[in-house]
């Protein structure tokens, strides 16, 4: 059996292990439930009121448009909220658990008693995290769109955020295309957060601690980003880059900005994987 075939066989079992655990698929159920709650809230309070209470600032001249929101507009907001609040929790849970839990349960000892390299196991775990992140992001985007269209139907797509310098009003089909493009960027962007939790999981740490620390990093970063007193921090914030996907809704898409942010995230991803590798290969599995 070639090394590649063996690696793929191990990868397949890594994914089976991942999907056999309830918290993995509960993430999908929880995000869907959260989206339903959000859409219901938008229906009962009106999206513009909800937006006013949140960080989405609707300029007065766009208020009429925002009041006549379409399903895609709702989906764009619901996706952002769901990723930040609910999906991030499950990404941290899954990635923070993926090695720390195996270490705690000592199944890692069973694996490394066999003729396998640590690099191979690390790569399989990273791939499992990537697959989970991308699938969850696509799921959140697709279900938010389905719910939005179900409730509000097609129409104008309005996305406005003063903090991110986004003003965008689009017809339905162009808006839908931009939404699809944004969802395609959503998973790769959030992968960086997943890898923060994953890297923590490689340390000698309890699985719960890896999850909590990763979420604390995200929360701290977001709080600093939105605090007026720390306005200078916003350009450097991780969350600024995690929100890159929304840039596609601007009248004029800031491609250089998107490319810069995504490439920065990619470098952070590589640095995190490198740090995880250094940590993991040096780690001793004490008897």
């Amino acid at each position: 059996m070639t090394r590649v075939r063996r690696f793929l066989r191990q990868q397949r079992w890594e994914l089976i292990k991942l999907w056999a655990r309830p918290r993995t698929y509960l993430g999908f159920g929880a995000t869907l439930l959260f989206e339903i709650v959000l859409v219901s809230l938008y229906r009962t309070t009106g999206l513009d009121e909800a937006l006013d209470r949140n960080y989405w600032q609707v300029p007065a001249q766009l208020a009429d448009l925002a009041a006549n929101t379409s399903g895609v507009t709702v989906a764009a907001h619901v996706t952002a909220e769901t990723m930040a609040i609910m999906a991030s929790l499950f990404l941290a849970l899954v990635a923070g658990d993926i090695i720390a839990n195996e270490s705690e349960e000592r199944t890692l000892h069973m694996i490394f008693s066999r003729p396998v390299t640590r690099e191979a196991v690390l790569a399989q775990k990273v791939i499992a995290c990537v697959v989970y992140t991308l699938l969850l992001a696509v799921f959140v985007g697709a279900t938010a769109l389905a719910l939005g269209l179900l409730v509000d139907g097609p129409g104008k797509v309005v996305v406005v955020s003063a903090r991110e310098s986004i003003v965008g009003v689009h017809d339905f089909w162009p808006g839908l295309r931009r939404y699809a493009l944004g969802i395609a960027m959503l998973g790769p962007s959030w992968l960086t957060f997943t890898l923060v939790a994953f890297t923590l999981s490689c340390w000698r740490i309890k699985p719960g601690a890896a999850t909590v620390v990763a979420l604390a990093v995200l929360l701290g970063d977001e709080l600093l980003r939105v605090q007026p007193g720390f306005a200078g921090f916003a350009p450097y914030a991780l969350t600024t880059r995690l929100l890159t996907w929304r840039q596609v809704f601007g009248f004029h898409v800031a491609w250089p900005r998107i490319a810069r942010n995504l490439s920065q995230l990619l470098w952070i991803d590589l640095a995190l994987i490198g740090l995880a590798w250094v940590t993991f290969r040096r780690r001793e599995l004490a008897p």
Binding site: A20, E105, S113, R114, P115, E284, A286, P287
Partner: protein
């Protein structure tokens, strides 16, 4: 089959293994004895490359664990504290763990599962397994693919007497039928006496004995004497350096043997009616070896 060459392992300032050297011959069963914390599990972890050696090297079939860990481990099966994916079946656990080694056919897996006596429950989730069943599953995964060297850590841990008996029989069958070299660790000498050819004893990370049971007996072999006059015999025996017990058991001194004692008794005019060799229990011999380690050199085979 297995050669340890001055294996040392330190965890911070604590030396868990201190220049441990011994070999295990192909096809033998060796017991690794020692109290809790003596370094048995650390030694297994060192052989398996789970911890980095602070010094020395381990050779498995001539392959260095330090230089070619993966290749060395391909010859080793290990039964550590059972740890499985509880939410999956025993069969799936076997498939996962065997995916990290050379290919194993379903037929081989089935035969191994039958060998360890787990065929009827192999499709159940591990969550519902008893401890004994987990030990069997751990043994099954260690045998897939068939290893040249099998390491069994705390082989009787958590098993009831019936389970201990069955596990011992499985290990003996493996050794007899497949010629598998086995190293079992234990802190109970009595449990391994009937199973192992030789033993190695660790104390605080140091090897204090390595050899056969008879070598260990040599340290503690005494005789029960049937004499006509113990009052005359006692001073004669003590003068010959022997230790006289209250139960008629006499231990020869470090420099003497039984023949010297009998000669001393005859010279003292004592009639020796019978001389019966007395062996201590395995526990006694083991404890004696441990105690002697601090004061005297012990045989190393």
């Amino acid at each position: 089959m297995l050669q340890l060459d001055r294996v040392s392992k330190a965890f911070g300032a604590r030396l868990a293994l201190d220049a441990v050297s011994f070999g295990v011959r192909r096809g033998e069963i060796l017991a690794l004895l020692g109290h809790n914390g003596a370094g048995k599990s650390t030694l297994f972890a060192s052989i398996l490359g789970l911890v980095r050696l602070s010094g020395g090297d381990v050779l498995v079939d001539g392959v260095s664990v330090r230089r070619a860990g993966r290749r060395a481990r391909s010859r080793v099966g290990s039964v550590l504290a059972p740890a499985f994916y509880e939410y999956l079946s025993g069969w799936d656990n076997l498939r996962i763990l065997t995916s990290y080694s050379a290919p194993v056919t379903e037929a081989e897996m089935g035969a191994t599962v039958r060998f360890v006596g787990l065929a009827e429950r192999i499709d159940d989730r591990v969550r519902v397994y008893s401890h004994g069943m987990r030990r069997r599953l751990a043994l099954a995964q260690a045998l897939l693919p068939r290893p040249g060297l099998l390491l069994v850590d705390e082989w009787e841990a958590g098993l009831d007497p019936e389970g201990v008996h069955e596990m011992r029989e499985l290990i003996l069958r493996l050794n007899r039928e497949h010629g598998t070299t086995v190293v079992v660790s234990s802190h109970s000498p009595a449990g391994v006496e009937r199973m192992c050819d030789r033993l190695a004893i660790l104390r605080e990370g140091r090897l204090v004995f390595h050899g056969g049971w008879s070598d260990l007996d040599g340290r503690r072999a005494g005789v029960r004497l049937d004499l006509d006059d113990w009052a005359r015999a006692r001073p004669a025996l003590e003068a010959a350096g022997a230790e006289v017990g209250s139960d008629g058991v006499v231990m020869p001194g470090p420099a003497g043997d039984v023949a010297d004692l009998v000669a001393a008794l005859v010279r003292a005019g004592v009639r020796v009616r019978a001389v019966e060799p007395v062996r201590g229990t395995p526990d006694e011999r083991y404890l004696h070896a441990l105690a002697a380690a601090g004061t005297a050199a012990v045989p190393r085979g």
